[in-house]
């Protein structure tokens, strides 16, 4: 196990700054997910932690040791790549054994370790095959095997599931989570998939433009997004964002639309963006703000139903309601909204209010 400390970690390519003075402390055995769209600097950060990318500025520490200038193999990290990066000329057995052989591990020990790992990952029957004879899921299992076989203190994963189909992604996700629980090692996991981030992470660092937008637990990120970017990046379907003002009576106003807010939330007259998660609607009830809207599209998902509605002021919203609600296209209905569940952001700075 190792704690990873990034202090003012910076990566510049010529005049382009990929990662900008990033501060991040990852605890012993923590599962940290770096989440963001492509080009946000998450992979560059991971590569700097791995030692595959030279650090332009700042300090990187594993526990108390400064590893800023250490080459990858001295850092005792293991990495899993999106492309699997298995050695095509080596069998599964040789692929998994390779890191141990480079460390001159005695043959008997290598064999034992390979057998053990392949048992854990259920690839024991594939040991004599070449990567080209494996499916995507099997390849990623081998890549995981190659990573865990030498018991590193830090696991780095660069979008390991992005090349797999949806069903496989789900099962590999739980496999990785089980691995983390069993190995008790520090995981740093890069992804652009919010569902992966939510399900796997102890904490998520949402990144954009080389900067961390928010660092928090999955629940914290989801229920208290720091700005509109974070709010819209997590959640499926995405959060509804409506630009408007705070009216004199303290309510949110956009054209004919009025919504109650928690008392005294924001001073009147301020330009704000309102965030409403699709699932944060209920049947009208006392204590809830009410919202009149006309249903324009009904999409049953089986477990629940997605509605596209138009609220007063021509505001289009996507809502998620229980499947028991009998809703038809064209219906006008009233929804109940708990003011405490609304998110308010400053329209200029996009920051949470």
């Amino acid at each position: 196990m190792a704690a990873i400390t990034c202090e003012k970690l910076t990566k510049r390519y010529g005049s382009v700054t990929a990662v900008d003075r990033l501060d991040l402390a990852i605890g012993h055995g923590e599962f940290m997910v770096l989440l963001g769209p492509s080009g946000c600097g998450k992979t560059t950060t991971l590569n700097m932690i791995a030692g595959l990318e030279e650090i332009t500025d700042g300090t990187l520490r594993f526990d108390a040791t400064d590893v800023t200038w250490q080459p990858p193999h001295k850092r005792e990290v293991a990495m899993v790549f999106q492309s699997y990066a298995l050695y095509p000329n080596k069998t599964v057995r040789e692929n998994i054994a390779f890191p141990l052989q480079l460390r001159r591990t005695p043959r008997a020990e290598v064999e034992r370790a390979v057998a053990d790992v392949s048992e854990q990952l259920e690839i024991a029957h594939l040991l004599d095959r070449h990567p080209s004879q494996l499916s995507g899921g099997q390849r990623q299992r081998v890549a995981l095997g190659r990573a865990i076989v030498r018991k590193p203190s830090v696991f780095l994963m660069d979008e390991p599931l992005s090349n797999l189909d949806a069903a496989l992604r789900l099962s590999m996700r739980s496999l990785i989570k089980h691995l983390h629980q069993r190995l008790q090692a520090t995981f740093v996991y890069v992804t652009h998939d919010q569902a992966e981030a939510m399900t796997l992470a102890d904490r998520i660092a949402v990144m954009r433009g080389g900067l961390i937008q928010q660092l928090d637990t999955p629940d914290g990120i989801y229920s208290r997004p720091a700005n509109t970017f974070v709010a819209s990046f997590l959640g499926s379907p995405p959060i509804n964002l409506v630009e408007g003002e705070i009216a004199a009576d303290g309510r949110f106003a956009r054209g004919a639309l009025r919504l109650d807010l928690p008392p005294g939330a924001v001073a009147p007259g301020r330009a704000v963006t309102l965030g409403l998660r699709p699932e944060d609607v209920a049947a009208p009830a006392p204590g809830l703000a009410s919202l009149e809207a006309r249903v324009t599209l009904v999409s049953p998902l089986g477990s629940e139903t997605l509605l596209e509605v138009v609220a007063p002021g021509d505001v289009a919203l996507t809502l998620r309601v229980p499947k028991e609600w009998r809703v038809r296209h064209g219906d006008s209905m009233t929804f109940g909204i708990d003011p405490a569940r609304l998110h308010l952001f400053d329209r200029q700075t996009e920051a949470r209010l």
Partner: protein, 297 residues
């Protein structure tokens, strides 16, 4: 009958046949006919000084070759020359490819310059190296004298111990660029993630070369080895221009022997038979290389 043919060879097949016909016709005239004719020649005792007498001798020409000590001398010279040329070319090409696969200032210019020797016609190449090795005006002499490695000018190509190596050097200079180019193309296709994975796994530069680059290079290496072997084993122009088989028999290779036998002694029958032996040897060697490297890809 016609209907059956029509059914068997539909419109697509017939138009395809019409389209490839010109090429097939040309190949028949310029490739198939000479190959078959020279085989016919190799079975006859044809000597151009007695053009009207051309008895059929069957395999006698072939038997005579194998009893000819000049042939075995030429085989050994050709073997040495080919092995040196192919090995040095391949090793240099791998090194050059490794260098040019990196990005550094001037890398593009260097890649372009690399192709100059390859674009040089081989006669020009032969003349150029002949001048470089020249005993009176040669650049090599001037250079070595200046550096202090020799005390007086030497006739480099006149030294039987060196001749073959000096010609091989000229051949390598011309052939290496294409080989390097082929290897660079193969190298470019190696995914970067493999190197990154190997780095994280703890492989040093040499181990990354052995475990990542070399295995991925196999198809390219096979191509280079086969191609260079085929070229080198049949080299002729350099020998014609630089040494004419000499000094003595120091550069007496198979292709030179075939030339002498056919166009100086005018014994077309044995000349053709020798050509066939050389062609067969080339074919077998290439096949062996493909078998050796091909099955591991």
């Amino acid at each position: 009958m016609l209907a059956r043919l029509n059914r068997k060879f539909g419109y697509d097949e017939r138009s395809a046949a019409i389209l490839v016909f010109p090429v097939v016709a040309v190949l028949l005239v310029v490739a198939a006919y000479p190959i078959l004719y020279s085989f016919w020649v190799s079975l006859h005792d044809i000597v151009l000084t007695r053009p009207l007498r051309r008895p059929f001798v069957g395999g006698d020409n072939y038997l005579r070759i194998f009893g000819d000590e000049r042939f075995w001398l030429a085989v050994s010279r050709t073997t040495v020359y080919t092995v040196v040329t192919v090995v040095v070319t391949t090793v240099l090409a791998v090194l050059v490819a490794l260098l040019l696969n990196e990005t550094f200032p001037g890398q593009r210019i260097l890649s372009a310059v690399l192709l100059v020797p390859w674009a040089t016609p081989s006669v020009v190449n032969g003349l150029m190296w002949k001048w470089i090795y020249d005993p009176t005006y040669g650049l090599l002499n001037a250079l070595l004298l200046k550096v202090g490695l020799i005390e007086r000018y030497r006739a480099w190509l006149g030294d039987p111990d060196l001749t073959l190596m000096l010609i091989a050097n000229a051949a390598v200079w011309k052939q290496m660029p294409l080989a390097a180019l082929l290897l660079i193309v193969t190298m470019k296709a190696i995914p970067d993630d493999l190197y990154r994975a190997a780095k994280v796994d703890g492989a040093n530069v040499l181990q990354r070369f052995v475990h990542v680059t070399l295995p991925a290079l196999r198809p390219g290496l096979m191509l280079v080895l086969v191609y260079e072997t085929m070229i080198s084993i049949r080299h002729f122009d350099l020998f014609l221009i630089m040494t004419q088989g000499g000094p003595g028999d120091a550069s007496f290779t198979l292709s030179w022997l075939i030339y002498v036998e056919t166009f100086r002694s005018l014994r077309f029958g044995t000349g053709a038979a020798m050509s066939y032996v050389l062609a067969m040897a080339t074919f077998l060697l290439s096949w062996a290389v493909i078998r050796w490297l091909g099955k591991r890809i």
